[in-house]
Amino acid sequence: MLRNVALKSLRDIRRGFLWWSLGLAGFVALIVSVWPTVHSNPGLNKLAQDYPEALQAFLAFGGAVDYSSPAGYLGIELFSLMVPLLLLVAAIGTGASSIAGEEERGTLELLLANPVSRTKVVLEKTVALVAELVGLGFVLWLSLWIGALLANMDISAGHLAAATLSAVLLALAYGTIAVLLGAATGKRTVAIGLTAAAAVAAYLVNGLAPLVHGLEVPQKLSPFYHYAVGDPLRNGFSFTHMAVLVAIAVVATALAPWFFSRRDVAT
């Protein structure tokens, strides 16, 4: 595990990864275990469909608010807010720590005394971030799939995978932005704060767009729009929208070494 910067960085987050996995799996188990009760209570669905439009827009994931199908239920309970929230917290935390965390702890000075370029360091740290998110995505998908089997939910493993992958890519987009800001400023709190603020803004823009005139264009720029609009729980993989999220991550990852290589490292 100490062969290179990427593996060493993964090793550093192994304990955190375990807790995140347990948390995600536990949360999925909780939500799935409630499904039989919700399913046998059609009144809940009627109630939800009477909700104000504004609330529905935030509640639903992709399509309309619908408590009667597994896809609708998992969308509302997991994928509209909690799953992206949890994955984003993990991704932004790891991303901001990648460079800025080591810099603030002072270990970056010794690491960069080794014959590794700054570009290599930031890229390997990004590889570790990708590996962490793919790992968490796998745990999430596995718990969903097992949970769906046990709870007799009529939803395919492929559609669960599509929704999970969308969430992972959304988290990756923000995680790499956090890497970029940490690499450019060397300050972890700046990286976390700015990335989180950008995510909240993008979330609100996407949620409010159906209600507010003039947000249609900004909505298309929101990563949350591309995360949800393909409705992956019902329709499966939507490669165009996933490509947008990947493109954000690629651009952020390409810019990070450029900024990092051009500045002084703090004492």
Binding site: L110, N114, P115, V116, S117, D264, T267
Partner: protein, 301 residues
């Protein structure tokens, strides 16, 4: 000399300005292969700034800096392959053991090296987590990682801070072995006795400017330290006006002189009194610098 020695470090009008902080200004020096170059100066004078430029952690505002004939910025990775660094403010991976840290850096440098043997010589337990180690033991981890791959250039910033005297001796041996292999050492310190012990040449940096570069031998030879014991305490102004006298300290019938240049004038002045004992020796670097900078005050910030 068989052949002209290769320059390992060359700084030309090297300048680094920070916003409000003082950096370094127009620093010129070169360090040749196989020598120990002592870089002296009070805290905040610019020692760490120079070192961080050598490591390409920070970038010069102007001027040129090359190591092994390579550009400090463009060829930094190639330079760092041949370099071992011990930071003055050593921060290690707290959750790793010493062995894991050496293992990690060994992989990054592509050389397993001598880390374990060095740790053994320093009496360092590699199995303990770094967060559990005392300051002195952390310093040993820092020394082991700096020396482990037998680098051509060692950049050592305040290397013996926190080490007990016995371990310091081992450290001096490690430095001596490195130079015997042909290695070069850039040693920053504010402990003059340590620099005197190890360095061939010294540079003195004050307020960001390199004041003087000379061999330790020359610097010490320029000054003489004389201690005279008189039968009776001489009058206080007995040696006023003696040529070359830099400093006089009287302690009853014992008087100590620091003297620049020839000793003749002082001897003739001493001869007027009844001298019971006389000790003449080369000055310490400490005397040299005290004499040279006596009475000067750093500019108020």
């Amino acid at each position: 000399m068989l052949c002209p020695m290769a320059e390992v470090i060359r700084a030309e009008q090297l300048t680094k300005s920070y916003g409000r902080h003082r950096g370094i200004v127009d620093v010129d020096f070169s360090v040749e292969a196989g020598e120990v170059f002592g870089y002296l100066g009070p805290n905040g004078a610019g020692k760490s700034t120079t070192i961080r430029l050598l490591l390409d952690l920070i970038r010069p505002t102007s001027g040129r800096l090359s190591l092994f004939g390579l550009d400090s910025r463009r060829d930094s990775v190639a330079i760092r392959k041949r370099l071992g660094y011990l930071p003055g403010d050593l921060r290690l991976y707290e959750r790793m053991t010493g062995r894991e840290l050496l293992d990690y850096f060994g992989h990054l440098r592509g050389a397993r090296g001598q880390g374990e043997q060095i740790a053994e010589r320093l009496d360092l337990d590699l199995e303990r987590r770094i967060k559990e180690l005392s300051r002195g033991n952390r310093q040993k981890v820092g020394i082991a990682q700096a020396f482990m791959h037998e680098p051509d250039l060692l950049v050592l910033d305040e290397p013996t801070s926190g080490l007990d005297p016995l371990v310091q001796e081992t450290f001096y041996e490690l430095v001596a072995e490195a130079t015997q292999r042909g290695g070069t050492v850039f040693l920053s310190s504010h402990v003059l006795s340590e620099v005197q012990h190890m360095a061939d040449r010294v540079g003195l940096i004050r307020e960001g400017r390199l004041d003087l570069v000379d061999s330790v031998e020359n610097l010490r030879a320029a000054f003489t330290h004389v201690e005279a014991t008189f039968a009776e305490p001489p009058p206080a102004d007995a040696f006023a006006g003696v040529a070359g006298l830099e400093r006089v300290e009287q302690d009853g019938s014992v008087v100590r002189f620091a003297l620049e240049g020839e000793i003749d004038a002082l001897l003739k002045a001493l001869a007027r009194f009844h001298v019971k004992a006389l000790d003449v020796r080369e000055a310490d670097l400490e005397d040299v610098f005290l004499a040279r900078y006596r009475g000067e005050r750093p500019d108020a910030p």
